[in-house]
């Protein structure tokens, strides 16, 4: 499982997408998610308000407890937060309060903040075979020397766009839009055994 406090497996039936001796794929419980856009100044203030600073280094992630700020582009970050007590519901109120806090902190500084909590779902891909399994559909070099723990990027999962974050040597979190999840899960679940 993910070594982060942020992600926990969803409790729902069918949360387990794939379970093999060397790799598992599990749907994660919902999170509060905010898309943040703005320049470095805005990002600095946003990080302070959010509770996890927004990384300025490309492809970097900054997890702090049950929050994380992910660099997605030079003026784009994805802010993630899990409620203190685990829930299977989408934490709208958390998303709302974080939204309000960041908005208040930035007041007159140009920026854009949009709640995208419901847009994405996350899959946790974990185990020694995780990278090999992902490489059946993801054209990135997932060798740890090239794609180290903490790196995050948008990329393609064959015909679907994903955000891929290595949270531990053997663990990746894959975020995608809701309606693409069955496609991605389908391809992961039917990946041949000898690929993992």
């Amino acid at each position: 499982m993910s070594d982060l406090a942020l992600y926990s497996p969803a409790a729902a039936d069918g949360a387990s997408v794939l379970k093999r001796s060397d790799v598992s794929v599990t749907r994660a419980a919902p999170l509060a998610r905010l898309a943040f856009r703005g320049d470095a100044t805005a990002a600095g203030k946003a990080g302070a308000a959010f509770g996890a600073s927004l990384p300025m280094t490309p492809l970097a992630a900054n997890p702090v407890g049950k929050r994380a700020a992910l660099w997605l582009g030079p003026d784009e970050w994805l802010l993630l937060a899990a409620p203190e007590t685990e829930t299977q519901d989408v934490p709208w109120s958390l998303a709302r309060s974080l939204f309000d806090e960041v908005e208040t902190a930035l007041a007159t500084i140009p920026h854009a903040l949009v709640d995208v909590s419901e847009r994405n779902v996350a899959l946790i891909v974990s185990g020694p075979g995780a990278a090999r399994l992902l490489n059946t559909q993801v054209f990135l070099d997932l060798d740890e020397s090239v794609f180290p723990v903490g790196q995050v990027t948008r990329t393609l999962f064959t015909k679907a766009e994903i955000t891929l974050w290595r949270t531990a040597p053997d663990t990746f979190v894959l975020e995608c839009w809701n309606s693409f999840a069955p496609y991605i899960e389908g391809l992961l679940a039917t990946a041949p055994e000898d690929a993992t």
Partner: protein
């Protein structure tokens, strides 16, 4: 089940593991480790197929992927053969046998030994290169009816599978420092050298076993060990290195830009009972920092009369069969050569128990040591001697010898044999180097093209770049491996390998071999599979073909499934002789991927069925499916199309749904519409520039219909935009247009207007959208809305409010309509959309309402004259064309597309304009796409005034209605026009394009 040609011992086959298979229905036995070819040869089967054009009997020529003749249809079992699941055209030299494997010969009827098509061979004097361009033209009608069907049925090789393929295919993306293509001594040395320096290495080889020539070297030693022992050690070392990936049965088939390579791995075809979880084949898509090509060299046939008879084989292939598979290619063997290596093949075969009847070398002075060795073995040697013919139709019986002299070729008698081994020397295998766009250098002294300077990050090693001899090849591989590793930052010493044996072989021959036969009558084959002879190549030149590409296309040489691997150099040489040009001036045809044929399924990998393209479904999808909805594909989405009840067809269902919406209320899933949140201080200014409409003065909480043009001035998308705050807009797009619109906006924002402080975020999937439309819409939703005043005054048409539904679920409530009825679109979190939908549904049902799909949505909007982008418009339509100049902000200095709207043709008279059409009889439903003319029965070639864009039965109008784009349409309102159909014209009246509530009073209930 005897294997009469099997040696008593030796080879890499497992004599303890017999394998039973069938060929043309007859059962044979081989051993584990055999290819189909080696097993057939063990059973003295040489005749395995018929050639493409002349249907000549053909035998096994090679022992590798370059095989031109031994193509067979292969299935896992005889049953699968019979059910049409065999794979055609596999090379018997690559097919590994397993128990139950069923192979069939091809291109023969009724049987391999008696083939009606062989009549073509009798007609060969007529069927020369390009004959079909000169005939089959009279009478004209015969081409499609007689000639072409005849030619088609005679052509082709195997039979395409008839049944859908049930096997699966897989894909893997990989990266490495060094990819080594080929695992012969050069490739192994390169892989060892690179791996020892710490590089990430992939070693791939098309064969089942790594080792290349080491698998059949007899007597060679490396580092003091027999070659096969050294090989085992090297493979163990590589296998133990976690940074090395070993890929046997894997062909590097494509070398693309920027060191991207594609590999095809055969995963399970060689297994009798494969694990069903494993794929049949897997494509590897590899980005390599460096590539070492170690693809070896390919032995070249000699072009002499009847060189295509079964039993005529490459010398090295004979050696491979003897040494690696323990199979003698014949009992009594002749060798025709111009190269030393064939002598060693003869010696090895002799040692394995074969009788060498004669070695005929084209050279006057073959090396003395070889001659001495032959003498010691008691083998007859003929120097300066050519094979001038072969007797025996389905198997070599005798070969004719001719002595080459100044006076020409003089007969040197005949020799009785059952096998003839030939060698014209070696052609370095430069295919991958050439695919990588590396140039080729002609080496006249070697009679070969060698790799020139590489263009990409790659090098060649070993005999593919003309290096010969085991010790030299190992050293070259080590050098290349270290060079590649060093280039990517790994330090390492160049390993040294001490090798003896595997000597270099000199000597070569290019082009036709001289003979004493009637040149006009005999056929010496250049391209075996496509039946191209030396005469054909000369004929092409005679007819004016100068470029090798012309010669290739005219004669089809090199265009068979072996891609001319055996034939290209001989064809080139013959052509150069006929043209009187040097070989480099005649040119070499381009090497293209794939290196050898690649299964379509392997290229398609996992894309099939529901995983072919993502199937996007809304949170309401399952509910709709349960209600029996029919769905339509819109972009990647499945949308509910209509909801038939109790045996209704689409028309009935849609009519009911339309009536219900207008009379009470309907529920519609609008989730798939694209949504973009546009936020920032300059958001309104951005929208001013992107849309035709003005946005500055749109109040917070208000909606406006937005129209978007491309820069050419044509409508590209539309949607409703809501202002949530001074600096925040909620934009909607069409379902199919969502990605395009976002890309369009980002393009302008980033590259033209980077001064604007505004950002775009896709929220398509942040919100599910439940549209509730109809006079009872407010009633249907009111009980569920927590905190929004729904009264007409507080929340008028074209407004938006943020609030909550069902006790705290956040929502964005739009009051808007695409039906002409009062209505709402409730944007809700997808995770709760189903529950909210069902709650609304409960109310809707109580109110006598219904759920409706996209078809009803289309009818309702057409009744109001609202356009659908992509239906009324087609990329050539301006706002004025569809009567929407009202959507253009007249005072705006600029917006995307504005300048183009002023171009001459876009302001010209007579443009097509949107109007309504009513059939005069009030009953006939026009067909969408039907043309509109003035005349009832226009003459052929009459210009259409326009066409019907939308046409429906309108319950509200009580008759069919249509929208159409008609030249000068607005001025034609009231006129009668016609819609010509195959069974006569339909009279229509041109009307304003609005059929229900033109004043819009129903919207403001």
């Amino acid at each position: 089940m005897t294997q009469r040609n099997r040696t008593q011992e030796g080879g890499r086959i497992d004599r303890e593991a017999p394998v039973s298979f069938t060929f043309d229905g007859k059962r044979y036995q081989g051993f584990a480790g055999d290819t189909l070819a080696s097993a057939l040869l063990a059973n003295d089967v040489h005749l395995v197929g018929r050639s493409f054009k002349y249907h000549r009997p053909r035998g096994i020529v090679t022992a590798g992927s370059e095989e031109p003749n031994a193509l067979v249809g292969v299935a896992r079992s005889q049953a699968r053969h019979l059910s049409g699941e065999a794979t055609p055209n596999l090379r018997a030299t690559q097919v590994e046998i397993h128990d139950g494997l069923a192979a069939e010969s091809q291109n023969r009827w009724p049987s391999l030994s008696f083939d009606i098509g062989a009549v073509n061979d009798k007609l060969s004097p007529l069927f020369v290169a390009g004959f079909y361009y000169k005939t089959f033209m009279w009478p004209k009608s015969f081409w499609n009816k007689v000639y072409e069907p005849f030619i088609r049925s005679a052509a082709g090789l195997g039979r395409a599978p008839k049944k859908p393929d049930t096997d699966t295919y897989a894909n893997t993306y990989a990266h490495c420092d060094v990819l080594v293509a080929g695992s012969g001594p050069a490739g192994l040395a390169a892989a060892l050298a690179a791996a020892r320096s710490g590089a990430r290495v992939i070693l791939a080889d098309e064969q089942a076993e790594f080792g290349g020539s080491l698998l059949h070297e007899r007597g060679a030693e490396i580092d003091g060990k027999p070659a096969s022992d050294w090989l085992a050690g090297a493979l163990a070392e590589l296998g133990d290195n976690p940074r090395v990936t070993l890929l046997p049965r894997t062909t590097v088939f494509g070398y693309f830009n920027h060191n991207f390579l594609a590999l095809a791995e055969r995963v399970t075809d060689h297994l009798a009972k494969p694990d069903p979880e494993r794929p049949r084949e897997r494509m590897w898509q590899v980005r390599a920092k460096q590539v070492v090509i170690a693809s070896g060299a390919i032995e070249r046939p000699l072009v002499f009369p009847e060189n295509d008879r079964p039993g005529v084989m490459m010398a090295e292939a004979g050696r491979i069969y003897a040494n690696r598979y323990g199979v003698l290619p014949g009992k009594r063997i002749a060798v025709a050569t111009a190269c030393d290596s064939a002598w060693r093949a003869a010696f090895d075969i002799a040692e394995a128990g074969g009788a060498i009847a004669v070695i005929a070398d084209l050279r006057a002075d073959p090396p003395a040591d070889l001659v001495a060795r032959a003498a010691a073995l008691g083998v007859r040697v003929e120097r300066g001697c050519a094979v001038t013919g072969v007797i025996g139709k389905t198997r070599v019986k005798r070969v004719l010898l001719g002595r080459i002299s100044d006076a020409g070729v003089l007969s040197a008698g005949e020799v009785d044999v059952d096998c003839l081994l030939m060698s014209g020397g070696w052609t370095p295998n430069v295919s991958l180097h050439s695919q990588a766009r590396g140039k080729l250098d002609w080496q006249a002294d070697k009679g070969a093209f060698l790799p020139g300077d590489p263009v990409q990050a790659q090098g060649s090693a070993g005999s593919c770049r003309g290096v010969d001899g085991l010790a030299e090849v190992l050293a070259d591989g080590a050098r290349a491996g270290v060079a590649a590793a060093t280039a990517v930052g790994h330090e390492g010493d160049t390993p040294e390998f001490a090798a003896t044996g595997g000597e270099a072989g000199d000597g070569w021959w290019l082009g036709a071999v001289p003979h004493d036969r009637d040149a006009a009558r005999v056929r010496a084959f250049v391209d075996f599979q496509n039946d191209v002879t030396a005469k054909d190549v000369k004929l092409a030149v005679r007819e004016g073909m100068q470029s090798i590409e012309h010669i290739k296309r005219y004669t089809t040489t090199g265009m068979a499934t072996d891609q001319g691997r055996l034939s290209n150099m001989n064809a080139l040489s013959i052509a150069s002789g006929a043209l009187g040009n040097e070989i480099p001036q005649v040119g070499l045809t381009t090497f293209r991927q794939p290196y050898t044929p690649v299964t379509f399924g392997t290229l398609a990998t996992t894309s099939r069925g529901d995983l072919f393209d993502p199937v996007r479904k809304t949170p309401i999808h399952d509910w709709a499916a349960k209600q029996g909805a029919a769905f339509e594909d819109v972009a990647l989405w499945k949308r509910a199309w209509y909801f038939p009840k109790g045996g209704e067809d689409m028309h009935d269902a849609v009519a009911r749904e339309c009536r219900t919406v207008r009379e009470s209320v309907g529920l519609f899933d609008a989730t798939t519409l694209g949504k973009i949140e546009i936020v920032g201080p300059d958001a309104a200014e951005f929208l001013n520039r992107i849309y035709t409409n003005p946005w500055t003065k749109l109040g917070v909480g208000k909606l406006r219909y937005g129209l978007m043009l491309n820069e050419a001035g044509f409508i590209m998308d539309d949607g409703v935009v809501g202002r949530l705050a001074e600096d925040r807009f909620h934009v909607t797009t069409t379902t199919g247009g969502a990605p395009r619109v976002l890309a369009h906006m980002e393009d302008y924002l980033q590259t033209e207007w980077s001064d604007l402080d505004v950002w775009l975020t896709s929220t398509t999937e942040q919100w599910a959208v439940i549209a509730v439309q109809g006079p009872k819409a407010r009633e249907a939703i009111a009980p569920l809305v927590d905190d929004i005043d729904l009264s007409g005054d507080a929340f008028p048409h074209m407004s938006v409010r943020e609030g909550h539904v069902m006790g705290g679920i956040p929502c964005r409530l739009f009051r808007m309509s695409f039906t002409g009825e009062a209505g709402y679109e409730i944007n809700v979190p997808p995770s709760r959309a189903r529950a909210i939908w069902e709650a609304v549904w409960a109310n809707v049902e109580k109110l006598g309402g219904c759920a409706y799909g996209t078809e009803t949505m289309h009818v309702l909007r057409a009744e109001k004259g609202y356009i659908i982008v992509g239906q009324e418009t087609d990329g050539t339509v301006t706002p004025d064309d569809v009567g929407m100049t009202w959507a253009i902000g007249k005072k705006k200095p600029d917006f995307v597309g504005k300048r183009s709207l002023a171009r001459p043709d876009l302001v010209a008279e007579g443009r097509k304009q949107m109007v309504g059409l009513l059939t005069k009889d009030g009953k006939t439903l026009l067909e969408e796409g039907a043309q509109v003319t003035v005349e009832r029965s226009p003459a052929r070639g009459t210009s259409a005034l326009g066409h019907v864009t939308s046409s429906y039965r309108s319950p509200a109008a009580g008759r069919p209605i249509a929208l159409a784009m008609i030249a000068g349409g607005r001025a034609r309102i009231g006129e009668t026009l016609h819609v010509p159909m195959p069974d006569g014209g339909i009279a229509v009246e041109v009307v304003r394009p609005v059929f229900v509530d033109p004043e819009g009073t129903r919207l403001n209930v």
